[in-house]
Structure formats: structure tokens, C-alpha cells
Amino acid sequence: MLRGLWKLTWLEIKIFVREPMGVVGTIGIPVLLFVLMGRIFGGQLQTGSPRLRSFMRLEMPVFAAVLIALSAVLSLVTIVSIYREGGILKRLRATPLRPHTILAAHVIVKLLFTALTLAAMFIAGRRYYLSIGDASVFGFAIALLVSTFSILSIGFVIASLVPTARFAQPIGTLILYPMIGLSGLFVQIDTLPTPLQIASKVMPTTYAVSLLKGMWRGDPWSAHAVDIAGLLVVFGVCVAISSRVFRWE
């Protein structure tokens, strides 16, 4: 059924591009913000405090990557809810298309636009932030792909449980964005109270941030086996849950 997958994916890309505001929101605005931040703080890369310099070099790109991945997941949750509510999912399912093909097409579209946004951001931000010296762009991209899949699986659990499209967006936001706060990006995890530390341990963003930081610094993969395992466990558990509870209508 590969033919159906590519055709559907290509169609969804075309349909997405036909909504100009969606494209601006997905690609244009993040790139613009990134460049603006670079213009404002860029000068401090050399002259700022060591803490700020390290933040700009390391945390900032990771933060941007996780943020983009989260917003892709959120938009997937919304689109799945809209398709379900409109009966589009049901209509597609009444064809020889396999259910996972329909969802895979959306995942591919989201990943593609995430990659495109990040590529545009990093090209635009290069002047301000990065000396890609030790960072392996390829390794970082793979790490981000694994992370996005893991976060995406949470998205599917949300999409499975949220009753209407109108709820999907706020509930998704409420669940996904606080994960950044507990991910160790801004606050060290071991300084958090114990319950939050435990919460942090079950969230894919925590492992994603650790892995992405590592890749950005140029760590070897072997140093992050725990992170990868964490991401895979979350992915496995969430896929198992959502394949049981996902509703097509």
C-alpha cells in the first residue's frame, strides 16, 4: 500500500501549502523570531556573561528544536481531531487504505515541515549563534527525529482521547509545553522537588533535551544510550495505548 501512502502524503503537503497562513505560522514565524533573537542577543555571544554565552551556544538551539517538534506534534493532534470530526478519517478508512497509512502520511508531512523549518532556522541563525564546530548536524537531525517520534506518540494518545477538535489544541498545549519546564533545559532536574523529578523521568522531552544537547556538543551516541532507551520506551508505551484507544469517528 506504499503507493497510497506517497500519494496521500503528497496530497497532504499540497493541501497544507494551500493554506498560506499555516505555512507562515509553521515556517515563517519561528525563523523570524529566531533571527530577531539573534539580532538582539547575538552581540553578547562574545561579550556576554559565560552563563549567557553557554546558553546561546547550547541551550538555545536545543530549545528551538524541541519547541518546533512540540508545535508540530500539537498541529498533528489538531489536524487529526479536525479530520475525525469532519468524517474525513472515516471516509478514508472506508477504502483499502490501511489505518496506519492514513496516520503515517500525516506524520511524514509534519516531520518534513519540521525539518524544513529547522533547516531554515539554522541557516538563518548561523551568523548569530553557532559555531557548528563540534556539533554533528547529521547526528543532531537523527536525534531530533527520534525525539519527535517519541513526543509524537504522546500526541497520538492525546488525539485518541480528546473528544473534539476545539479541545485538542488547548489540551495539547497544556500537556506538551509544561514538559519543557521539566526537561532540564532551564532548571537542573536534581534541583526540582521529588514528585517533579519523577514526572520529569517519564517525559520524553527530558530524554530528548539530554540527547539533543549531547549531539550538539558532539558527544558520541554511546554516551546517550539511556536517553535513547527512554525515548523508545515512551514511544512503545504510547503507541500501544493509542492503538487501543484511538477513535476514527
Binding site: 493541501i15 471516509r91 477504502t95
Partner: protein, 258 residues
């Protein structure tokens, strides 16, 4: 209907369509049937030809999509977005998608609900066209007129159970065998003469316009013969036959239901 199409798991019982189990053999079944779902939508910004093209790519065999669009009067909307189509055009597109794989059975679920009379009639012609090409059409409707005009066999369903099934004519003669004649005459003795006829059951009227009900194949002939024999002058004469709607109301009861 969704159980038959393999979209919903039945609570109990067994279903066989073309010798296939709709749940177990769902992919094989979906290759051989065409489905139009009640209240379905497509992506707002998908173009008509793109939808047809996608659907055509999903089946091993597919008919010519452009010709299909032409037959359904959608050729000039080929490049239009789904969201710009009218209700009738959307339904015709869904019919096109249901026919794209040249199915053996076509399922149409409340096809004309919410359409204006012109669009409804145009779609009826399409359904007759499908039937004439030798396909089995399985449709659900709330419009008894639609069932009467399109169907060879009708099943009346009340609260999820089949109350009766048969040809529309057979259902009418089984449940509503009585016929009525409405006529207008100034002849004062007419009513009494009608009452004496063996096939007449009731005669109601205000002294000028009468409604005569009766049953049996001989009823209409008897009334006409009576008019001729007695030289009764009539200024109006109508035969009122019961319809499938009368049958429906009779077998399901008259109370308002959800």
C-alpha cells in the same frame, strides 16, 4: 449499514456480503464494494480531480476518473476545491468516489438528505444509471418517495429491526390494500348507490365531494360502472392510491420518533 461495509463491529449476529465477512475480510470486501457515507467530508482544499486520482490509485482496477466526472456533471469543477462545491456537487463527487473501482455493490447512505428537489432528481437519475449498468445498489433513505422510485426491494426498519421487506408494490398491497376515489357530484342519490357496491367500505362526504374507500381489484371498475349505469354526472374524479409512506406510517406507528 456500517456493519455491512466493515466499518463497525456488530454487537452480535453474522453478516455475509459477496460471501465475505465484513470484519475478517474487510480489505477484500472494500475492493469489491463502493461506499458513500452519510455526512462525510473531505479535506477542504483538496481538488476534485485529486480526490478521484487518490481513490483510483488505491484500487487494483479503476475506471477512467475524468469520464466518471463528466458523467456526473463535475467536469467543469475538476480543479475546484472541495470546500467550494455545493451540497449536490459534493454528493456527486462522493458517488464518483464510490464508483471509481467499478464495484459490484454500491452502498449509498442517505444520499439526498438536505438537497434541493432539482439536485435530488439529478441524483436519482444517476442512481438509475448505476442500476442499469448491472450494479447492485443498496441505499438507505428517510424519503419514501425515493425508495419507491429507485428500489426493487425495500426493507422497512423500525428501531433497528426490519419490520417488513419486499417490492414497493407488494408492501403497499400487503399493508395498505384499500383504494380511495375522490369525486364531486351534485347527484343527491349517489352516496346511497356507492354504499350498495360490494367492494366499497366507506363513503364520506359533505353532499358534494365524496371520498369512497374500498379494496380489491374490482373496486375502481365497480364505482365507474355505477357512475355509468346511473348516469351520475361528476365534475371531479380522482383515484388515490396508497404510497410507501402510508405503509411506513402504518407499520411503524404514527408517533414522532428520533
Amino acid at each position: 449499514m456500517e456493519c455491512v461495509e466493515g466499518l463497525r463491529r456488530p454487537d452480535r449476529g453474522t453478516i455475509s456480503v459477496l460471501g465475505l465477512d465484513p470484519i475478517r475480510d474487510v480489505y477484500e470486501l472494500q475492493r469489491r464494494i463502493g461506499v458513500q457515507l452519510q455526512a462525510a467530508q473531505l479535506q477542504k482544499r483538496i481538488k476534485v480531480w485529486e480526490a478521484v486520482d487518490l481513490w483510483a490509485s488505491l484500487y487494483r482496477t479503476a475506471v477512467n476518473g475524468d469520464r466518471l466526472l463528466e458523467q456526473l456533471g463535475l467536469a467543469d469543477k475538476r480543479n475546484g476545491w472541495f470546500m467550494t462545491l455545493s451540497g449536490g456537487q459534493k454528493q456527486r463527487l462522493f458517488i464518483a468516489l464510490a464508483l471509481i473501482n467499478d464495484p459490484e455493490i454500491v452502498f449509498l447512505d442517505e444520499l439526498t438528505t438536505g438537497l434541493d428537489p432539482q439536485a435530488r432528481r439529478a441524483i436519482w437519475d444517476l442512481v438509475r444509471g448505476i442500476r442499469e449498468r448491472g450494479k447492485t445498489v443498496f441505499l438507505t433513505t428517510h424519503l419514501m418517495e425515493e425508495a419507491e422510485r429507485l428500489c426493487d426491494r425495500v426493507a422497512i426498519i423500525d428501531h433497528g429491526r426490519i419490520v417488513d421487506i419486499g417490492a414497493p408494490d407488494a408492501l403497499v398491497s400487503r399493508h395498505c390494500p384499500e383504494r380511495s376515489i375522490v369525486l364531486a357530484t351534485a347527484d343527491a342519490g349517489a352516496a346511497a348507490r356507492f354504499r350498495r357496491l360490494s367492494s366499497v367500505e366507506t363513503v364520506a362526504g359533505d353532499g358534494f365531494e365524496f371520498t369512497i374507500t374500498g379494496h380489491g381489484d374490482d373496486f375502481i371498475r365497480q364505482v365507474m360502472q355505477c357512475l355509468l349505469d346511473n348516469q351520475i354526472t361528476v365534475t371531479d374524479f380522482r383515484i388515490v392510491l396508497p404510497t410507501l409512506e402510508d405503509v411506513f406510517l402504518k407499520v411503524t406507528g404514527h408517533s414522532i420518533r428520533d
